[in-house]
């Protein structure tokens, strides 16, 4: 791309096209759709964390008033084992089906056991209460240490650890082992002047999107289903529901509703196939919405982890060796985000000798789902915390320590390939220069620094551009707009076509109206789908040049496109007026028919995102409470298409990371029952918990994107955990390695240190 390129549309802070509907209450989210005759589906959930289902008796429930259909696991087809070709944590269709509705065993408290459709929610709830399920309780396995112990209860007798050189002889709760290494780690430690080691734990946390999962499904007697769903990826809802129900993909149409947050948690399916089946059984449209309690108990949280990190360094801060032992809870089925966690943990640093071992571990908790840079926050929290300790021991500024070892273009990443243009060093330097970094601290206050990294994804996208008869532009694409992406698509189309942003409208189309498009996730939309939109716009421009040429009676390659107009190339001897998009569109019928541009691609070259965050916190030494005073998020964003929404990603990720660090955790009792399944006691940050979150966008263009875009959505959640933990350590003088840094834990540590 050309560095000096001047942009017209992109880089501005325009008003998003869907904004008015969202500030007036008109935007329709998952639970907002109703069809004539709609009835309501509700799910009966397991009261036990681990049990065998002995019997299910639905007779009484089926005779309850208003009840039109009841389904249990026996009503679903048997689904064979088949890998879901997605990314980390995507798992297996058999597991997906069993997670949607339990068959012979329940594997976590909240696991779906049966479902009812009735003419009202109250009637459905009453019927659920009348279903009799007999269970034979089994001992729940609730944490990594228990699950990995030699005498552990094995959750899945068919599960043999994969990733080992030879197939093990016994089943295990460890689904997968992964190893990454380079150089000679023992020699590296031997060569170090200082070697530090620490064990870090992070709890189960939830994405905490404000809109619960919701869908409306209807299926006709011919077997064709239509589903309105709040999802990050409606094509994935289609493929998942088709597998779980044994249907043809072409028989399911999924219409994406507006989505009230996802953060990775709405990349899989829960109620959608159940709603289709209930609709088939009842002959009526079925609406299903999870309660908030169900969202916590039965949708996919992020892994709890145990990470052991060891770092060796020279006295000047040069890293000589690093090792990581990383165990991630997968929940009841295999497929945690351990692998990306392992690949990220040392990604920001140059080190010749390292050994990373990762373990994907089953426990009796809900199957984890992706959560913003899945896997990275946990392992990098551990590594970035230990680096902070190292900086302290060496008496080095923590930014200087990182600068000493930072990767740059051409360095080989710990996960394999060499980096292209990246902005880690630039972020570190910006942090060091940032005025917030030199604000004086008061008593009981501390400052902490940490770095973050995420790969960012490319994958498949499609886009169509229609030029309407008045020259306005309709963009059709297939990524639910979770945070302003309609605006960035419209801006990129406007930029390419040379028309004002206001003349472009973006439509998020259903599975039958948009070309196949991968999920809104992996920070891929602005990058990959944006690239498809740009290519579709270039397709339009090519056609317009041809139309202009035929209008003028000159050769197509004699026409240029500039400022939204077709003009003859310099030197062309034609006395013609430039033709605008509107001119060409109005004459389209005579020059070959409607103007329709298309692109589909599998995007490569997603540029990785690096960040540096620092936080100031104050501790109340009598209660152990930490207050965040200042937070600064610096990130290489490639090229900010809409700067406000990019800043918003940095701020939102920071807030989620702060919550993860300070208060958020699933609290389980000894029976494996989550005790805080609501927003009252699962404490996400509220407005008064946070300061303004200062952002600085560094723009090191991604060479693989026409405008230099790199994904920005996920990296922001990675660094805050350690930034807060390191600030807490600086404020309190005590290093706490387990998250969250809740007041009781901090006070206990302070008291322990004093005694």
């Amino acid at each position: 791309m050309s560095e000096a390129r001047q942009f017209n549309a992109i880089g501005r802070r325009v008003i998003r096209p869907d904004g008015v509907d969202k500030v007036t209450g008109r935007a329709a989210f998952g639970a907002d759709y109703t069809l004539p005759g709609t009835i309501y589906g509700k799910v009966l959930r397991s009261p036990h964390a681990h049990a065998r289902i002995v019997s299910i008796d639905t007779k009484k429930a089926s005779r309850m008033p208003g009840v039109l259909a009841i389904v249990t696991g026996a009503d679903f087809p048997k689904v064979g084992s088949e890998e879901i070709t997605g990314g980390e944590g995507a798992g297996d269709y058999k597991d997906l089906a069993t997670n949607v509705m339990a068959r012979d065993r329940v594997l976590y408290h909240g696991h779906a056991v049966a479902a009812v459709a009735a003419t009202s929610v109250a009637e459905a709830d009453a019927a659920l209460a009348a279903i009799k399920v007999r269970y034979e309780k089994l001992r729940p396995v609730m944490d990594i240490d228990t699950a990995m112990a030699d005498d552990a209860v094995v959750i899945d007798e068919q599960l043999f650890t994969s990733g080992l050189p030879e197939k093990p002889s016994k089943p295990s709760n460890v689904a997968t082992v992964m190893e990454l290494k380079r150089g000679d780690v023992e020699a590296g430690f031997a060569a170090a002047d200082i070697v530090l080691e620490g064990t870090y734990r992070t709890p189960t946390v939830h994405q905490g999107y404000i809109e619960p999962h919701a869908c409306l499904a209807t299926i006709n007697q011919g077997g064709q289903a239509t589903v309105w769903a709040s999802t990050q990826g409606h094509f994935d809802v289609r493929s998942g529901a088709a597998k779980v129900l044994g249907m043809k993909v072409s028989d399911i149409k999924v219409i994406p509703t507006e989505i009230g947050g996802g953060f990775g948690g709405k990349t899989t399916i829960y109620v959608e196939p159940v709603a289709i089946l209930l609709s088939r059984r009842s002959g009526r449209p079925v609406k299903m919405t999870m309660t908030r309690e169900e969202v916590f108990r039965a949708s996919g949280p992020a892994s709890a982890t145990k990470c052991v990190i060891k770092i060796g360094a020279k006295n000047d801060g040069t890293l000589t060796a690093m090792s990581a032992w990383l165990a991630y809870e997968a929940g009841a089925f295999k497929g945690s985000s351990m692998a990306p966690g392992a690949m990220c943990v040392f990604a920001p640093y140059k080190v010749d000798n390292f050994l990373i071992r990762g373990f994907d571990v089953l426990v009796n908790k809900p199957k984890v789902a992706a959560y913003r840079a899945p896997g990275a926050p946990q392992s990098m929290y551990a590594c970035e915390s230990l680096l902070d300790e190292l900086a302290g021991k060496l008496g080095m500024d923590p930014i200087d320590l990182r600068l000493k070892n930072a990767v740059e273009e051409g360095c080989q990443a710990a996960y394999g390939p060499k980096f292209n243009a990246i902005g880690f060093r630039e972020c570190l330097e910006a942090a060091k220069r940032h005025p917030n970094y030199s604000v004086p601290l008061g008593p009981d206050e501390g400052r902490g620094v940490a770095a973050g990294f995420w790969f960012n994804a490319g994958m498949q996208s499609s886009a169509e551009i229609h030029i309407n008869e008045d020259g306005t532009v309709t963009v059709i694409e297939g990524n639910p707009d979770i945070g302003g992406s309609r605006a960035s698509m419209a801006m990129m189309a406007a930029e390419e076509l040379g028309v004002p942003y206001e003349r472009v409208r973006v439509q998020i189309a259903d599975t039958e109206s948009a070309g196949y498009t991968n999920t809104t996730g992996g920070s891929r939309v602005t990058f990959a789908t944006g690239m498809a939109v740009i290519q579709a716009a270039r397709d339009i421009i090519g056609q317009c040049k041809q139309r202009a040429a035929s209008t003028w009676g000159i050769d197509g390659d004699m026409v240029d496109w500039a400022d939204g107009k077709a003009i003859p190339k310099p030197g062309v001897n034609a006395d013609v007026k430039p033709l605008t998009l509107a001119n060409i569109a109005s004459n389209a019928a005579r020059t070959g028919g409607p103007l329709l541009g298309r692109a589909s691609l599998n995007a490569r070259g997603a540029g990785p995102g690096f960040s540096v965050n620092f936080a100031d916190v104050r501790v109340d030494r009598e209660t152990g409470k930490l207050d965040v005073l200042r937070f600064t998020a610096i990130q290489d964003v490639g090229k900010a298409i809409h700067p406000s929404y990019v800043e918003g990603q940095l701020q939102g990720g920071a807030a989620q990371g702060i919550g993860w660090a300070l208060n958020e955790e699933y609290v389980y009792n000894k029976d494996g029952v989550m005790e805080n399944a609501g927003f009252l006691d699962y404490r996400i940050p509220v407005a008064s918990d946070l300061p303004m979150i200062d952002t600085q966008m560094i723009e090191v263009p991604n060479p693989s994107h026409p405008y230099g875009v790199r994904g920005v959505g996920e990296t922001p959640i990675v660094a805050p955990l350690a930034a807060i933990a390191n600030a807490s350590c600086a404020a309190t003088g005590v290093r706490i390695r387990d998250l969250p840094l809740s007041p009781p834990r901090v006070l206990a540590a302070l008291e322990h240190a004093a005694s």
Binding site: T24, G25, G208, G260, S644, Q656, F679, P685, S688
Partner: protein, 160 residues
Amino acid sequence: MAKVHVSTSVNGQHTEFLCEPNESLLDVLRENLQLTGTKEGCATGDCGACSVTIDGTLVCSCLVLGVEIAGKEVGTIEGIAKGDVLHPIQQKFLEHAALQCGVCTPGLIVATKSLLDSNPKPTEEEIRYYLAGNLCRCTGYDKIVRAVQDAAQTMRGKRA
């Protein structure tokens, strides 16, 4: 026992509906009156997505019974804009990009209006505490607070 007939006013319009005595105002608005701009995030009063006003007082509609609003004036997000003219709060939320997914936005706008109606010049701290019952998981609140500050200034200007 039978459904209850309730006569009330919603966004200035006389409105009548039938509801179960234990049905929440939120369900009445969304299901009976098809006013789906008011959102359900938790149904326990912890998220504020269902914020509405009753006789000008800000409440969570999930914690009010439909039968309780007989004879009252209910204000919802659908009544904030006047015809095709956005309220300054709505305009500032757009200008400041104070929403990402947008599901908490109706509740936040209703709550912000309630704040600024009673306190035209709130400090940042007052804004943050007043809106503490409106959870937003996307924005980190920064741009929301700035939008509210800017809206307050605009509204003061209009009043003067």
